[in-house]
């Protein structure tokens, strides 16, 4: 059953899967360059790095196009290539390991509870009802993802979408394997809170009846 929240993007228009970009590389660039650039820039923050990653991705895609099976859109396929290049970029940066707390701190999860570990009144989760099914939920979720540090957002998404293992994520963020779980806990808590504030806000979705189960 198609979910109502699934949003069709431009990249999902049907494309001729047999169109080899080698025939018209300019078209390839025109079709995908900006989208790939936006994606990369949001994650690596530096324009020159993002440009290089876009170039490598398009070149790589061009060279390996015979391996593209058409089981996804070309855009999706290219973004997958780009994501792996971004991951390699994170790995290659030689720097001291970053403390997870510096990326996303413990207050993300702890500030919502009293000393004894009970939910603080103002932080107590509200009922979302069918909010999760609605198209606006996806937009609100995107805005909330943008509030996270980009490296955390990317690492979190890659895990949730089963694109990366926990081991790869720990390398990507320079954190221990254990801290991958802590990162996810914090990311989920931060997103949930943001969504509740942004999505429910003043809306009439607030419900006083208790949820079943």
């Amino acid at each position: 059953m198609e979910s109502a929240a699934h949003v069709r993007t431009n990249s999902e228009r049907p494309r001729a899967t047999g169109t080899n970009p080698a025939a018209d590389p300019q078209q390839w660039l025109d079709d995908h360059g900006d989208a790939l650039f936006a994606y990369a820039l949001a994650r690596v923050k530096k324009q020159d790095v993002a440009e290089d990653l876009v170039q490598e991705t398009l070149l790589g895609g061009l060279r390996t196009f015979d391996r593209f099976k058409g089981d996804s859109t070309v855009r999706t396929w290219l973004v997958a290539i780009l994501r792996h290049k971004i991951l390699n970029h994170y790995r290659a940066r030689s720097k001291a390991p970053v403390e997870l707390d510096a990326l996303l701190g413990p207050e993300t999860t702890d500030a919502q509870f009293s000393r004894s570990g009970k939910w603080r009144k103002e932080a107590n989760p509200k009922a979302w009802d069918s909010a999760g099914e609605q198209a606006e939920f996806g937009s609100a979720l995107q805005l909330c993802l943008d509030q996270l540090p980009p490296r955390v957002a990317e690492a979190f998404l890659l895990g949730e979408q089963n694109e990366c293992s926990a081991a790869e994520i720990s390398k990507m963020l320079d954190i221990t394997a254990t801290n991958v779980y802590v990162m996810r806990h914090r990311a989920r808590a931060a997103l949930r809170r943001c969504l509740e504030e942004r999505w429910l806000g003043d809306s009439p979705h607030d419900s006083v009846r208790s949820e079943a189960g």
Partner: protein, 81 residues
């Protein structure tokens, strides 16, 4: 187990199977704690929405390749094809 610890367990349950004891504690707690029940169902809603997102929805709109870089990349692609 406190609600704070319970949210930790709820998050963990989304990444790996819980031990029998952990599953039991979670079930016991969420029977009576509506807040944690809502928390768990909300995390599930988020995950479903994230998994429905196509990769290109997870980027920043509005950023374009500068024209000089675009030209450089176009040249590189032409040389390679």
């Amino acid at each position: 187990m406190s609600c704070r610890k319970m949210t930790q367990l709820i998050s963990k349950s989304m990444d790996e199977p819980l031990s029998f004891r952990e599953r039991f504690m979670l079930r016991l707690h969420t029977i009576t704690c509506g807040a944690c029940r809502r928390y768990r169902s909300q995390l599930e809603s988020m995950r479903n929405a994230i998994q429905r997102m196509t990769p290109d929805q997870t980027g920043e709109p509005g950023q374009s390749l500068p024209s000089d870089s675009r030209q450089r990349i176009a040249d590189a692609l032409r040389e390679s094809s």
